[in-house]
Subunit: 323 residues, 2 copies
């Protein structure tokens, strides 16, 4: 076991930080660490907080951090930040909102940039959740931007998913209802002092009421004002209720199983994509083909499909050794 | 050449519609049609319209459609609709906004759902653009939701990209500035009768002024009110200016070359992913591995990476025939 892994599972913040950076940068040691610490994972409770930009997700995250700290839980926060190219530091707004927590040794905060991560961000986030888990955080909050384009949004993270909306969203709820409505275990109408909050609750209710994908759990819809703290204690209660529901109905383990399988697939798919990109430069015949496409001699879609017809992926894994 | 291809390039709407549906459904004939019509493409001018939900993109699209129709151009509209699972029909809001154009035989409108498309949507949209191009549309407008998560948003479509924001966005501009600021050739602050429009223009200006990625083109920032039509004629002018700039600086062809190469890669990457998904069910050793991951015996990330180490993609394309 690597020294950094050993330290990480003992709760060393610096090693945790280092391991996350390795994962982000694609350093192969990051992978080794993940394997090292795997047996020490599974005890954290992970909460995803998503919604459109400007819904107050960061403030809500800060409030929930306080609530969990008040109950004696250690907290890990991952803020997925579409702003900056470089990761590691929180952006100004978040810094202010999270200020109270920066000096708390039981809170670990990490901002991650969506840019420049070569498409692997969802996978990396899952890895970071696992590292925080191994590092002994009782609760992990993952804050991401989402507009309900299910296949594009970063999700599938979180035992419980909080979807955060604002009253004015009624205007654009058409635009994201399907995706966000399906992934929410708890809905929050934040900034509920603004006009339209009641209508927004009613709109969400009309969608939530019709679905049955959540089993016997009916997602509650809560009005909050994260800046003043109103509604937070109720949200905190609902989080506990949902967790208890997941455990008693054995859905917690089932969700986690599916997540692991999905993650395995993602890693493979992404890896094949990277290998393909390399190959396009190295393999002469592929490069020639790509060039023909570029020059408009071949139609890209049909050329790609034609090429794929000739390819049997089975070959790749033929001489697979044990892992 | 398929009959549907022949009819499509003669401008038959029904064949165009049919071809798009085939592409969406993954019908192999869709690929054949794309190849058939490829030599008849390249004459359309494609405009991407993106921005967060609620920015008024649909209304803007309807206005631009009118403007181009007024100049005698035929118009194709692709509205990427994150709402519904099934494609083909526009959602209510769009229907109302585009009402005037539905009876116009020189306007072809198509809504596409982001859901249930198994991740291939960006690729499919590019195919649809090509079909509309072959179908003789002079101008193609592609409306997509974007919050600036560059790697996730649907982009890379459009010779010219219009980024649409609203005055209140100032609050959340932190959240999307990086991504959206870089892709915009023209910025629009829509709903500019609302308070904060001037500040929003100033904020965008401060970002746009610093970049030089657009060569000698400085992206203009326009205030519009799409519902009343204010500012649209100016936007229309700027579109022509940008097109002229792209042509004279040879960037139009260069952008299109890069797009074609990117599309080829995307098709291959996605195809490999689909093959992998199949293989996970069929290949016994892979399936066993995936099951171990699911049951928590193996860490998904490192198991995937370990497997990838053993894989040489070169093998796949070894016996590649000509295309």
């Amino acid at each position: 076991m690597l020294q950094v892994s050993r330290r990480l599972i003992k709760g060393d913040r610096r090693s945790l930080s280092e391991a996350i950076s390795m994962l982000e940068r694609g350093n192969p040691q990051g992978t080794v660490i993940l394997r090292d610490v795997f047996v020490h994972t599974g005890r954290s409770y992970c909460i995803g907080i998503t919604g459109p930009p400007g819904a107050g997700k960061s403030t809500l995250t800060a409030r929930l951090t306080s609530a969990f700290r008040g109950a004696g839980c250690s907290v890990g926060v991952i803020a997925v930040d579409p702003t900056s190219r470089h990761s590691g530091g929180a952006i100004l707004g978040d810094r202010i909102r999270m200020e109270a927590h920066y000096l708390d040794s039981e809170v670990f905060i990490r901002s991650m940039a969506t840019r420049g991560s070569q498409g692997g961000l969802p996978r990396i986030i899952k890895g970071v959740v696992r590292l925080l888990d191994a590092g002994g955080k009782d609760v992990i909050l993952v804050e991401t931007v989402g507009v309900g384009q299910t296949e594009l949004d970063i999700m599938g993270v979180g035992d419980t998913v909080i979807v955060t909306l604002v009253p004015e969203g009624g205007d654009s709820i058409q635009a994201f209802k399907a995706g966000l409505m399906e992934i929410g275990d708890i809905f929050v109408v934040n900034k509920s002092d603004r006009p339209g909050a009641d209508q927004m609750v009613a709109i969400i209710n009309s969608f939530v009421g019709t679905g049955d994908s959540k089993g016997s759990w009916t997602p509650p819809i809560l009005a909050t004002q994260a800046t003043s703290g109103q509604g937070i204690s109720r949200l905190y209660e609902k989080l506990h209720e949902h967790r208890a529901y997941l455990s008693s109905s054995h859905q917690l383990e089932e969700r986690r199983r599916e997540r692991r399988a999905g993650e395995f697939f993602e890693v493979l798919q992404e890896g094949l994509g990277l290998k393909l990109r390399e190959l396009l430069n190295v393999n002469h015949r592929l490069a020639a083909l790509s060039d023909e496409v570029k020059r408009g001699k071949l139609e890209p879609y049909s050329a790609g499909m034609k090429l794929l017809e000739q390819v049997s992926l089975d070959l790749l894994f033929h001489r697979m050794k044990s892992i």
